[in-house]
């Protein structure tokens, strides 16, 4: 029987090398393309009628839009509006990446640390650039909050700097670990269904429950990733 970790295996579909770098089109890349196509199709399909009183699909699209818009408004403020398309894209990309992994034979590209770290790194670099563009050198004051006694500074500044640089790591590890653990667990219980024969309905019930749980986790992790991005963005724009 296949190992529970086999589902994370990268399989090349089209071999491709660009300037000596392996840029092959893999199952991971395929599901990224599927996610992008599906998101774009669903959103445009949902909005095709542009009706004043939304139908089911249009409600979903509008709900997504307002969910992210409200998140930015409450966590960043009005000057966060220009980053709305990026944060919206980030949210749906992760959400669909997580959800597509729950479809049988699907592949979860968000269960790969390199993908989650790539996204987190973009957020980290982006917020840092925004912070320096907004506050200039004063942004270094971020590492020494106001009202800190001078004698604590030698201890506090390294901690603040360390926690700042730890942000992309915690951001990417959280998503990667949740996705990997959830899917591994599903596969392990799925294996029990086969090996336990007639008594297999017990782990089968567990798999059904776990699938529901994983759906919540898939949404929650996309939400957490996005809201933390908003909080980092707020730090960059308004400091502490």
């Amino acid at each position: 029987m296949a190992s529970p970790l086999e589902q994370f295996q990268i399989k090349k579909i089209v071999e491709l090398h660009v300037f000596g770098v392996d840029a092959s089109f893999t199952n991971s890349a395929l599901f990224m393309v599927i996610a992008v196509a599906l998101i774009t199709f669903l959103l445009t399909f949902a909005m095709r009628e542009r009706s004043l009183v939304p139908g089911r699909w249009q409600s979903i699209a509008e709900l997504c839009y307002q969910f992210i818009a409200d998140m930015i408004r409450t966590n960043v403020g009005s000057d966060g509006r220009r980053y709305f398309p990026f944060i919206f894209s980030l949210f749906v990309f992760i959400l669909f990446g997580n959800m597509l992994g729950l479809v049988p034979y699907g592949f979860t590209f968000t269960s790969h640390i390199v993908v989650t770290f790539g996204l987190a790194f973009v957020v980290f670099i982006g917020t840092t650039v925004i912070a320096f563009a907004t506050h200039g050198v004063k942004f270094f004051g971020f590492f020494l909050p106001h009202g800190t006694p001078w004698y604590v500074a030698p201890l506090l500044v390294p901690i603040e700097i360390l926690s700042y640089f730890f942000r992309p790591i915690s951001l990417s590890l959280r998503l990667f670990a949740n996705m990997t653990a959830g899917h591994t667990l599903l596969k392990v219980f799925g294996g029990f269904v086969v090996t336990m024969g007639l008594a297999g309905f017990v782990p089968l019930a567990a798999v059904v429950a776990l699938t529901g749980l994983d759906m919540i986790v898939a949404f929650l992790q996309a939400f957490v990733f996005t809201i933390l991005t908003c909080i980092y963005l707020n730090d960059a724009l308004h400091m502490h």
């Binding site: 994370f8 990268i10 990224m32 992008v36 959103l43 445009t44």
Partner: protein, 163 residues
């Protein structure tokens, strides 16, 4: 774990970059403006409808106020008219009453005049009768005629005394 196989990292990063940039562009150019437009249009329409409703409410209130005013005016006018009619009727009645009582007074005066005249005539007649009676009685008792002048004087004197 396959996730820590470094050889598959570059391809995933490359495709993530490609797909994410594509997604971002599709969202910015295609999907998000449509949703934003619809939401904006809806908000505009709702606000417009609310504004219209407010205007209509104002109109209704104005109409109600105009109606109230008209009713009040009509009531006042009606009361004025009723009062005018009543006053005219009162005046007419008073005038008629005055005319009637004047005519009655005239009649009463005339009747009184006639009564006084009749009485005077009657009194004069009584005197003449008394004079004649006195003269006749005198003649019967004394057997001689009395001078009518003397009889008249005597009767007048007696009548004066008797009074």
């Amino acid at each position: 774990m396959p996730q820590f196989d470094v050889s598959v990292w570059p391809t995933q990063l490359i495709w993530m970059a490609i797909t994410f940039v594509a997604l971002y562009l599709l969202m910015v150019r295609v999907a998000l403006p449509r949703i934003g437009d619809v939401l904006e249009e809806r908000e505009f329409k709702i606000n417009d409808a609310l504004r219209k409703a407010e205007g209509l409410r104002q109109d209704a209130e104005d109409a109600a106020a105009a109606y109230e005013k008209m009713m009040a005016d009509a009531r006042v006018k009606a009361q004025d008219e009723v009062r005018a009619v009543r006053e005219r009727a009162d005046a007419e009645a008073a005038a008629r009453h005055a005319e009637l009582s004047e005519r009655l007074n005239e009649k009463v005066t005339a009747a009184e005049g006639r009564i006084a005249k009749a009485r005077a005539e009657a009194v004069a007649g009584v005197r003449d009768v008394a004079v004649d009676l006195a003269a006749a009685a005198f003649e019967r008792l004394l057997g001689e005629k009395i001078d009518p002048k003397t009889a008249t004087m005597a009767v007048d004197a007696t009548m004066k005394e008797g009074r």
